[in-house]
């Protein structure tokens, strides 16, 4: 009788786990993921000041960083559209198509490195890329600096942001200012983060099951940490090569950065934060439905078929990753002078 009571009690306790304390899924999730912090991180060697963030915000929206005056950082990393452009691959100077899907700028400060292949170590290094890419902003550092110096209103803003520099308008300082602004583009307080912080009611039963599947199937091997991704490099197609349109043969991924055979078709695992907002998916941008992306991940990465019921639950979980989107006041940019170069089309 005593044993029977005790064992019944244990059964009841286990069954009631979700209600009266931490369930094991929550514990596992807390060991695997971290909520997006409420405040932006402090950047090594690039401390944020209000002046630097304000300048970075202005430069992020500044189309005069591009040769045409038509393309700003925000063109492809639209802060009102989940930090992306909803294009398969981005469209740049002369309506050229870029080679890869634009990764979101939101929470990108938490990635181990930038770009799909991780070739930029931080957001400052990243910011210099598209400005110079011939298929993106099609500009040169010399021309960017000349343009910024020709706009009288920029000098006091750069001086305020970089008070120790005698000649503060430089390509490096442009990138540093953009980096501190981009570091503010974080999306805390998703429903999943409330769950991670201990509120079991933050997820519905279906979403909770989706999370459980996400952990059990092994998705979280590549998608973990603050960004639920962005923590390492993985072969796309480790178990089975995806279709040729989804993983185009000619894009060898990180191989181009490291020149190491093992890095062929290796990419940084993308963050799954706000994933609902950022179609289409994968570096090729060829997959528009999140459910299709989950299915492909099952076969290509884990070597399993995730059935439709499971996919529905995993997608339900993924939709809980939308955080509070950034509140950005559109900057008023200073006017040209007569010496400002004309746009080159």
């Amino acid at each position: 009788m005593k044993w029977k009571l005790l064992s019944s009690l244990v059964v009841v306790m286990l069954a009631a786990g979700v209600v009266w304390g931490k369930d094991s899924v929550m514990s596992q999730a807390q060991a695997t993921f971290k909520p997006v912090p409420v405040k932006p991180p402090v950047l090594k060697n690039n401390p944020a000041t209000p002046g630097k963030v304000a300048l970075g915000r202005m430069l992020f929206f500044e189309p005069r960083l591009s040769a045409s005056y038509l393309i700003s950082c925000n063109t492809c990393h639209n802060v009102g559209l989940g930090g992306v452009d909803i294009q398969e691959t981005s469209t740049g100077h002369g309506w050229q198509k870029g080679p890869r899907n634009a990764p979101t700028v939101l929470n990108s400060v938490y990635n181990l490195a930038q770009f799909w292949d991780g070739r930029a170590e931080d957001l400052a290094a990243q910011a210099k890329g598209p400005v110079q890419a011939s298929v993106e902003m099609h500009n040169t550092p010399t021309q960017v600096v000349e343009t910024l110096k020709s706009i009288p209103g920029y000098l006091p803003l750069f001086k305020k942001a970089f008070p120790r520099d005698k000649d503060p308008i430089t390509f490096d300082n442009m990138a540093a200012a953009i980096e501190v602004f981009e570091a503010t583009l974080i999306t805390p307080d998703s429903r999943f983060d409330r769950f991670l912080k201990g509120n079991p009611k933050a997820l519905s039963a279906k979403e909770h099951e989706g999370l459980k599947l996400f952990l059990a199937k092994g998705c979280s091997v590549c998608h973990s940490g603050v960004n639920i991704g962005g923590t390492g490099y993985f072969t796309f197609g480790v178990k089975e090569s995806p279709a040729a349109d989804v993983r185009p043969a000619e894009d060898l991924g990180r191989f181009k950065v490291t020149n190491t055979a093992a890095d062929k078709y290796v990419f940084k695992s993308p963050s799954l934060r706000n994933i609902e907002l950022t179609p289409p998916y994968f570096h090729s941008g060829k997959v528009w439905k999140l459910s299709d992306a989950v299915k492909i991940m099952g076969t290509a990465q884990i070597g399993i078929t995730i059935n439709d019921d499971e996919i529905g639950k995993i997608v339900a979980f993924l939709l809980t990753l939308n955080g509070t989107q950034p509140n950005v006041v559109y900057p008023i940019m200073p006017p040209n002078s007569n010496s400002t170069p004309k746009p080159a089309l």
Copy 2:
């Protein structure tokens, strides 16, 4: 003695006019121009509500109104760049060049009609133009409505903005919402407006001389009212035809709207508000320097040569027309659904 005293007093009174009361230039200016109001005007048949303004702001920045998902109203009417794109003529779908320079959206609600040729009677009619223009957003009303209806987050926003409509997501309602938002994009409190409101110290001596010249030379015949322009239609080249690049022969202006011979090369006089922010100038966008634009206006419209000293003063006056630029929070736009059409490039 008595008469001498009196006449001296009159001389002193006249000379001191600027200091102790209204000068005649101020009186003339007040009869010719009006300050930009602090609050947006109430629109006939399209009352503003917070919900409608918020929806309009979102749609103004919504690139999914374009076939490519790359071009929003703000692309060519950048609220951070004086409401323009700093291009000679705008660049649109497929990197095509449009036929005319993009007029500023700022204070455009105070123009008698919209577009350089006045073919749209109001901002709602205007907003429908670029969405459908093949060289601009390259879209169709049907496709726009289909796209907006496929984005689930838009329905509650349209319902809130148009509570009496059973099926509120329409092309007309899109345009009406954009109109009420654009009507908020006004720039009060320029230094010239402070002068107009009675503060003689708001202008420097040079700027005051520029204003006097602006009135005396006849510039204010076409550039008057709240917008210092935008009040009527005038032949560009009434006294002397401008150079062929500045007034291209093939653009007959308002003739295309009215089919009346007298309307050949007739255009709406543009607003000179925030003129420093909106180069290049004229409907062709071929003139980058404000001083050159003033010179051309002298020969083409008034039949006089304005000398460099006078041009310097008139330009100094024109630079006092920069008002307080709009404070716009970047909208967070709702995500696609699986039924949202893909961008067409």
